[in-house]
């Protein structure tokens, strides 16, 4: 039997993930053909590595097609309905740090907090004939934060799959919910983060799928988790 561990397929996240595994004593042997999406761990035929995109990893963990994966906490919470029932965060890895935040135009000098935004949203329809629009790719996180945590009901989400920070200037939305590591992109686009507008402080995590597996695979999985936590 083997345990499948999914790693991000490119960029900083891929390099940092491999480094974290190496530090824990698992060195990933990449295939000679760089375009292949499978790899192995040196000396371990009970572990298989799959390279996937970070959002695919969250989905595959939820459906149980991979046992372990490195992905962002934002993607776990956003992609997976009732995520705690299907996956568990095994270790926080300390890289890929970024915040999911609520940002409004700088020019909204009267809006500093979610309570301010609540006021603005409540009167929006009456003043502008439509609801306040939020551009985001984070449907689930936005709904939970606005509706459940802050009791703001009246707004509409406009799906944005790229360059979300440009939506207010483009006129396709009034405010945004987006991920940012340094805030510089937001500042460059004349947006400010609300004082209490941090929805999630995210980082890369080693996540396990909560599916049933053989005792042997369970032991392998535990061994990997323990080694990564201790590294």
């Amino acid at each position: 039997m083997t345990v499948t561990l999914a790693l991000p397929s490119k960029g900083r996240l891929k390099d940092d993930s491999m480094a974290a595994l190496a530090k824990a004593g698992f060195s990933v042997v990449t295939p000679k053909d760089e375009r292949r999406y499978r790899a192995s761990v040196d000396g371990r035929d009970d572990i298989e590595i799959a390279f996937l995109s970070a959002s695919e990893i969250a989905r595959e963990l939820a459906s149980g097609t991979v046992d372990l994966g490195v992905t962002g906490e934002d993607l776990v919470r956003e992609t997976i309905a009732e995520w705690q029932k299907r996956v568990a965060i095994g270790a926080r890895l300390g890289f890929g740090r970024a915040d999911v935040v609520v940002a409004v135009p700088d020019a909204w000098l009267d809006v500093d907090t979610m309570a301010d935004l609540d006021d603005v949203a409540a009167e929006f329809r009456q003043r502008h004939g439509r609801r306040l629009r939020i551009a985001t790719k984070y449907w689930r996180l936005t709904q939970q934060f606005f509706s459940s945590q802050h009791g703001i009901q009246v707004y509409r989400i406009v799906e944005s799959l790229g360059a979300t920070e440009g939506a207010p200037a483009a006129g396709s939305a009034d405010v945004i919910v987006d991920i940012t590591s340094t805030g510089s992109t937001l500042r460059a686009n004349h947006l400010k983060i609300l004082d209490d507008g941090v929805i999630l402080k995210s980082e890369a995590c080693l996540v396990q799928s909560l599916k049933a597996r053989t005792a042997q695979d369970d032991a392998t999985l535990e061994e990997i988790l323990k080694a990564v936590r201790g590294a």
């Binding site: 020019a107 009267d110 009791g151």
Partner: protein
């Protein structure tokens, strides 16, 4: 579960007796009106699909909005009463995703007290018909009375709207009150802006904001305007200088704790008025007229209770809200007045509306009908 419940014919007969023509409502509906009215949170709970051209459609999650939309589209005259009975579709954890609802929407009746009382009486009569022998109890709330209390206590407009929005949710109301008792720190403005705010110079501020918007590439008319932002800055600054007085806070708590049989409610509110030293004006007159009209509908002593804190935090409910249960059952019927809804849905002139919906699956369970 697609077969009509056995007692559906009793409900249809009641519609006819009570002058509510049966509305024919499409199962497939445009999704936007529901999401616009109830908010994005509804998205998780409805069944969405898309037309070939990308228009968002959903299986009807309720009847009030479609009935109102059809009424507007047909330019039907008012007053008019619509009955409906059919399946609605919602994703819910407890219970089936498709189930039956029935109800009456009463549109365009300008005698508010009479129409309110008739709606409550309709809902009660419907439940009596299909649940003979059960003890029914109704709880009634009134958003307008709450708003009148806020105004009478002299709360500034910004606070009134915030509290009115939270009405009906104990949690949100507590949070809003807490916010008002302990206002957050003031925003740190630059010197120029701070001076403009201090002077209450709305035009100067608006000019400053317009400059910021231009630099950010924001249209000054597509969304929030410089003028609106400036006004709210000044309003916020004014609010910070007031505190919710202990007297006002205590009076609010005193009011929200009122829960009495409806026949004693007008007296209880009058007693509150004199304790708090306020007058609730036309909201109080309408409340009393409605209570009398409800009594005239034959809803006897002990059936209806008034709960001052009972409301629904949806911005199109404007006055009466009510629920009817049997014993400790979950609500079997829910109703209320939504005078803002038809305008929000596109009616050219305001059309008052009041209506209710009953949960036929809960009724069937109480009747002990086989599912």
């Amino acid at each position: 579960m697609t077969a009509l419940p056995a007692f559906a014919s009793d409900i249809l007969a009641l519609f006819e007796e009570r002058g509510a023509g049966l509305a024919d409502v499409a199962v497939l509906q445009p999704a936007d009106p529901f999401l616009d009215m109830a908010g994005e949170d509804l998205r998780r709970r409805i069944f969405l699909t898309e037309s070939e051209t990308g228009a968002a459609l959903c299986l009807r999650p309720e009847f009030t909005i479609p009935v109102c939309l059809d009424h507007i589209a047909a330019q039907a005259g008012t007053p008019r009463r619509y009955g409906y009975l059919g399946e609605v579709f919602r994703q819910r954890r407890d219970g089936e995703a498709e189930f039956f609802q029935a109800g009456i929407e009463d549109l365009g009746e300008t005698d508010i007290a009479t129409a309110d009382a008739r709606s409550l009486a309709d809902a009660h009569a419907l439940l009596m018909r299909v649940l003979p022998g059960h003890d029914l109890a109704a709880t009634l709330g009134d958003q307008r009375v709450f708003e009148a209390v806020l105004a009478a206590l002299g709360l500034p407009r910004g606070w009134r709207t915030r509290l009115a929005r939270a009405f009906g949710s104990a949690e949100q109301l507590a949070a809003a009150l807490d916010d008002l008792a302990n206002p957050t720190r003031s925003s740190a403005f630059g010197e120029t802006v701070a001076a403009l705010v201090l002077d209450g110079d709305a035009d100067g501020l608006a000019g400053h904001v317009a400059g910021l918007m231009e630099r950010s590439g924001l249209s000054p008319s597509a969304g929030r305007t410089p003028g609106a932002i400036a006004r709210r800055m000044i309003e916020k600054a004014e609010l910070r200088s007031v505190r919710l007085s202990k007297d006002a806070f205590d009076a609010l708590k005193d009011f929200l704790a009122i829960r009495v049989p409806l026949e004693q409610a007008a007296d209880a509110l009058a007693a509150f008025e004199s304790r708090a030293g306020v007058a609730l004006g036309s909201a109080m007159e309408l409340f009393a007229a409605r209570a009398e009209a409800i009594a005239a509908q034959g809803l006897g002593t002990g059936v209806v209770a008034y709960d001052a804190a009972f409301g629904r935090p949806l911005d199109y409910y404007t006055g009466l809200v009510y629920e009817i249960s049997a014993g400790s059952s979950r609500p079997l019927a829910g109703g209320g007045r939504y005078d803002r809804l038809l305008t929000l849905l596109g009616a050219e002139t305001p059309i008052p509306g009041v209506g209710f919906s009953v949960w036929l699956d809960r009724i069937a369970a109480l009747r002990g009908d086989a599912p």
